[in-house]
């Protein structure tokens, strides 16, 4: 009885606001677009009994038009590059934090996480101000006799913004794992004759691989669906799933196609999501 009182409010809330929306999303992906409010014909109709009047037209469009396929590939590629760069940057940072004097560790970790609390949009604003034509970076380059270069609205700006936004997510799991590691394992390896680099390669690195995988996925999964950063920093012609979905929904008002895009994105990310959750349960 007491248990039900604790269990029911969050479970009811989640069923209503997580499970039901996803089911509706799946259903509307099979609806036919049409004029009206909302702009689609429900796939399940009622004519004396339930009638199926849905269609797989949206999925047909997704597969037929290379525009969408390209957007998916570009999204996954960008997310992969972002996650890889984040991992590459985050690993030495996490090692640095774990190797710092104990009294320095928490402040350093906070220093990594604080940008996360300064707001996502202001940070993108900073990149806009730095990279735009005649901006700060071009000014500095100009002093060196280079440029001006077209930096903003390019793949470079996109990746800078993505890595900058997601880097703290990658540092956190790595730093906590490296901080908690059993140092006597490394001492044992050194005692058995391993050089510092061999100790790192044969002990430290393999033991931190699950955390590295977590860090990678923690960046890769949200980056694949990212909308705001490509919109503000990326090249305008380069479409990614987030932007395409946004466009289909807000500009073209094709809700079934937007839902189908969302569903396809989910299915593509599902292996990563499941793997990530398994890592979490083991850690």
């Amino acid at each position: 009885m007491q248990r039900l009182l604790i269990l029911l409010p969050p479970l009811g809330w989640l069923l209503l606001l997580v499970a039901a929306p996803l089911l509706i999303l799946g259903l509307i992906a099979f609806a036919e677009a049409g004029p009206g409010v909302p702009p689609f014909i429900p796939p399940l109709g009622w004519a004396g009994g339930p009638v199926w009047q849905g269609s797989t037209e949206s999925f047909g469009t997704l597969l037929a038009d290379p525009y969408y396929l390209e957007a998916f590939l570009r999204s996954l590629f960008t997310a992969f590059v972002t996650a890889a760069l984040c991992l590459l940057l985050a690993y030495p940072m996490a090692l640095g934090i774990a190797g710092a004097r104990p009294s320095w560790r928490l402040p350093l970790l906070l220093l990594v996480l604080l940008p996360f609390w300064t707001g996502f949009l202001p940070r993108l604003g900073a990149w806009i101000g730095l990279l735009r034509d005649g901006g700060w970076v071009n000014g500095v380059l100009g002093l060196a006799g280079v440029g001006p270069l077209r930096l903003l609205y390019s793949d470079l700006a996109l990746h800078l913004g993505m890595v900058h936004a997601y880097l703290p997510f990658a540092v956190l799991p790595l730093a906590t794992t490296l901080l908690r590691r059993d140092r006597s394992l490394e001492e044992a390896a050194a005692d058995l004759g391993a050089t510092p680099f061999t100790v790192f390669r044969s002990v430290t690195l393999p033991l931190s691989l699950p955390a590295a995988a977590s860090a990678f996925l923690l960046v890769f999964i949200p980056a694949a669906g990212e909308f705001v950063i490509p919109e503000l920093l990326g090249p305008p012609e380069a479409q990614m799933v987030g932007r395409v979905l946004w466009g289909e929904f807000f500009q073209n008002r094709d809700w079934p196609l937007a839902a189908a895009l969302a569903l396809a994105l989910l299915v593509l990310l599902l292996p990563s999501i499941l793997f990530f959750q398994r890592l979490g349960r083991r850690g």
């Binding site: 940057l89 030495p92 940072m93 996360f116 300064t118 669906g225």
Partner: protein, 266 residues
């Protein structure tokens, strides 16, 4: 080597932010161009009615969503940590974990579809339905925050020494007294951290809010986003400096408290 890596990473993280804060005090109309010290953009920000309104709306939504998220999320975290294996545990765990891993566009779109259908249903039954806006944003943000709070609270409860509560029982405390005098004080920092996390996520969100909002609800991030699409203005610079100052104060304060506690633990 590791020090160089850490220094490079921190420089990469902080250089754009610090430059932005510096130029927030520049008098020049063009952002990131030095025109002498000035507070004019802070004054302009304070005078900007739309900004002020949006900020106020965002703060109200964030506070409400964080509070709802803390209440519901701690119940979910409690059930996941304390009920052992029960029917529906996988369901609860999966649903509570979903907002953490779903791409924002998927969360936003699916919630909007729900709200639209719910509006349609209400219209059909009652002839009237509430519009989308602050309320729908609050529901969406509370749902996302719930997931984060559940994780934080579950983790804290899992590491809580069970013999503390048993000791209280052995000393004559009933279940409610144990909760009030032992469990709650011990998980209170986690509850506060969960609330703060949900609050920040809400204040930072553009995508989900843009999906589920109606014409009546323009939050601060939505406003800043539409401004940034055109380009950076010095007012956004000033806003960033302001947000950073508040965040630094909050984190610095929390850090001091933590450090004092850690020192006490010796």
């Amino acid at each position: 080597m590791r020090r160089i890596g850490l220094a490079f990473g921190l420089l990469f993280l902080w250089a754009p932010i610090l430059l932005m804060v510096l130029y927030a005090f520049s008098a020049d109309r063009i952002p990131f161009q030095w025109g002498g010290w000035s507070l004019r953009w802070f004054a302009a920000l304070a005078a900007n009615e739309r900004m002020r309104e949006a900020a106020f709306l965002s703060l109200r939504i964030a506070a409400g969503a964080a509070t709802l998220a803390m209440l519901l999320g701690s119940l979910a975290g409690w059930a996941l940590a304390r009920f052992g294996p029960f029917t529906g545990r996988t369901l609860l765990g999966g649903l509570a974990g979903a907002p953490l891993v779903l791409p924002e566009v998927v969360t936003g779109l699916s919630l909007l579809l729900l709200f639209v259908l719910a509006q349609g249903a209400l219209e059909a039954w009652l002839g009237w339905a509430p519009g989308r806006g602050a309320a729908t944003i609050l529901l969406a943000h509370a749902t996302i925050g719930l997931a984060y709070v559940a994780v934080v609270v579950q983790a804290r409860l899992a590491t809580l020494d069970p013999s503390l509560e048993e000791a209280a029982a052995g000393l004559g405390a009933g279940p409610f007294t144990i909760f009030r005098t032992v469990t709650l004080p011990l998980i209170a920092p986690s509850l506060a951290a969960g609330w703060l996390l949900a609050f920040t996520l809400s204040l930072d969100d553009v995508v989900v809010a843009s999906f589920v909002s109606g014409p009546a609800g323009t939050t601060l991030p939505m406003l800043v986003f539409s401004a940034l699409k055109v380009g950076l203005t010095p007012e956004v610079n000033a806003l960033a400096a302001l947000v950073l100052a508040v965040a630094a104060l909050a984190v610095g304060g929390a850090g001091l408290i933590l450090a004092r506690r850690a020192n006490g633990a010796g």
